[in-house]
Structures are given as structure tokens and as C-alpha cells.
Symmetry: C2
Amino acid sequence: MKHSLVRDTIVETASNLFYQKGYNLTGINEIIREAGVAKATLYSHFKSKEDLCLAYLEFKNTTFLKEIKSFTSKAPKGKKQVLALFDFLKSFFKDKDFNGCWCINTISEIPKDNEKIRKEIKKEKYQLITFIEELVASNFPKLTKKKIPTLAKKIYLLYESAIAESHLHQDPWAIDSAKELCDLILPK
Amino acid sequence: MKHSLVRDTIVETASNLFYQKGYNLTGINEIIREAGVAKATLYSHFKSKEDLCLAYLEFKNTTFLKEIKSFTSKAPKGKKQVLALFDFLKSFFKDKDFNGCWCINTISEIPKDNEKIRKEIKKEKYQLITFIEELVASNFPKLTKKKIPTLAKKIYLLYESAIAESHLHQDPWAIDSAKELCDLILPK
DNA sequence: ATTAATGAACAGACAGGTCTGTCTTTATTT
DNA sequence: AAATAAAGACAGACCTGTCTGTTCATTAAT
């Protein structure tokens, strides 16, 4: 198999396992078995399990941002396009592999002083906030520049609680509730 | 030491360690060392680490509910008393031992099919929702009975994202933002 | 064109450490 | 004297990461 393809296979396999079972409960041996790859091969691509964790976070984030951008762009312009954030989440929730937010899950699993991973996670969340700002700005052009970041942060909070709580309660009520609340705070 | 006191010591020590370092990264040996207790003693009180985890969740929850009820009851009646939820969270955030929500952290660490722990966590969250309902009902007596649960759930979502996001970003902006949003949705 | 060399991946043993949970032995307390 | 707890050895499983040696495909050199 080609060098870069092997890497991709490892990242995808590890991502699925990390996301489903958690980082600490997934062993390297399980990853290589599943990926059909030798241990030395894995360690030639990643110098440690932590390195693989970073690749996992990046992979998930890239895929996620692409999907959510594509999904919302298909919704009608205006309020509905912003609210589509929650429709996206709902379809994500319905997926049999849904297991909440990988960032939150990972933060709970790593030692407090692991700055590398924490930094990556914060970066990813800021990318989401930035996307929401763009979404709000493009759908509410009358909104003053100053108000956009504040509003986007609030929508972000609603999004985050919707994903965490639908996961915790294994029920989508949190998504509906957050969407309602979002509807309330968007300019009419 | 007295039998029940030994149990309390173990639970408190385990709770601190589980909360600070995470469930999977805290070993039984570390708990007994810290608690000054023999391993056989621990296993005479708890049949497994999972059992100890349940005791940890219960302990944290009991303490937490007591404190948040006491804190909010001291705030002036009306809107302010409900908003005091977020002031409580802020002081909690400032604590050097703050490490987010133990329920969310634990959910991320255990296998998906651990129904015992999941059930306990859901129960605890419903206790929080119930408390918020009571808080809302007693501070907004004009509110119809039907509207209370819906409103309480929304406040709950704001509370949950405030705790999770202040933890993730290691910054209290999420608490302020959630409080503002809560202020907005409370009847004037 | 044939051979040699290089790079990549495979297979899996191994080291050295961790984990949970059990068990025995010794000490303390009541 | 009986019960309780301490101390810690131990079993057995699992973990990450290293290392040796083999296979195979592609490239370079003759």
C-alpha cells in the first residue's frame, strides 16, 4: 500500500476506535489489528499514541467542518440557515455511531497538563465559533459588526450544550430546546 | 478508625483523585496510598472500582446540590435568584480544583454500555433540572405550571454549556455569556 | 535486460511498566 | 480472644513502545 494511504488508514481506524471506545480504553494493538498494519509501521508514522490522538482530533474536525458547512449552505438563506446548525446536529445524533463531541470526550481523558492536546482542541472550537460568526454575518447583513461575535458565541454555547446533553441523556430533546432558544435570540 | 469513617475517607479521597485526574488515570493503589488505607479494606467497602465510581458520583452530587441550593437561597428573590446559578458557577470556576462537570467527564471515560453509571448520571442531572424548576417556580409565581419545565430545561442547557465551556477554554467568558442569555429568557 | 540496492510494510517477540482484584500475614483495637 | 485494619506479595491481564528479521515492490546500476 502506498505510504500516504497507510497513514490515512491508520488515522481513520484509530479515529473510529477512539471516538467509539474512548482514547484510554483503545489500545495500540487493537488499532493495528483493525487497520491491518504492523506495529512498527504505525510507529514509523506516529511517534507516540499522543501523536495519533492529535491526528484523530484533526481528522474529525476537518471532516466535521466540511460537513456542517455543506449542510448549512443548502438551507434557505436567513434565519433558517443559522438554525440549520441544529438540524445538522439532529441528523448527526441519529447516526448509530454518535458519541457526543470528541473534543469534550478527549479533554476528559487526558491529564490536565497536556498542553498540546488542549491547545489543539481550543483551536478547533475557535474554528467552529468563527464559522458561526460567518454564518450569522452572511445571513443577517444588517447586524452591526460589533454584535456578531457576541451573538455567535451564544449560538456556539447552545450548540455545545445540545451535543453534550443529547449524548448524555441519549435523547434529542436538548437539540430541540437549544434550537428554540437560538430562534429566540436571532434578530427577526 | 470507625467503620463508616473509613468508608467516608475512601470516598472523599477517591473523589478528589477521580475528579482531578480522571477515572481511568487514577489507580486503586494511588487511592489507598492517599487515603492511608489497605487495599483489602477498600475492597471490603466496595466490591469493585466501578462501585467506587458510583460512590464518587453520589458524593459529588450530594455536596454540589447542597451548596448550590444554599448559595442561591441567599440571593435576593426574583430574577436575581435564578441568575445566581451562574454566580455560583463562577465561584466554582475560580476554585483551583475546578475541573468541569464530573458527570460529563465520567461519561467520556466509561464504555458506552455501562448502564449502571449512565443511569446514575442521568438521575443526577434530572435532580439538577428539578431544582431549577423549583427555583424558577418559586421566583416567578405568575408563570403557568406548563411553562416551567420548558424554561427550566433551557436554563439547564445554559448552565451545562457554561460549565463545560469555561472548563474547556479555561476562561469564564462562557459563564458570563450564558448568564446574559438566561437573563434574556426569564420573564421580566 | 538482469541484477543489486533501497525503502516500506509485515509479523510478532520482548521489555518494562501499569492495572485490578485476591490473598496471606502481621499488627492493632475493642 | 475476636474482629478489624494494615501492609504488601501475588496472579494474570493489559498497556506502550522497541527491536529483529522477513517479504515485496520499486528504482538504480551494470
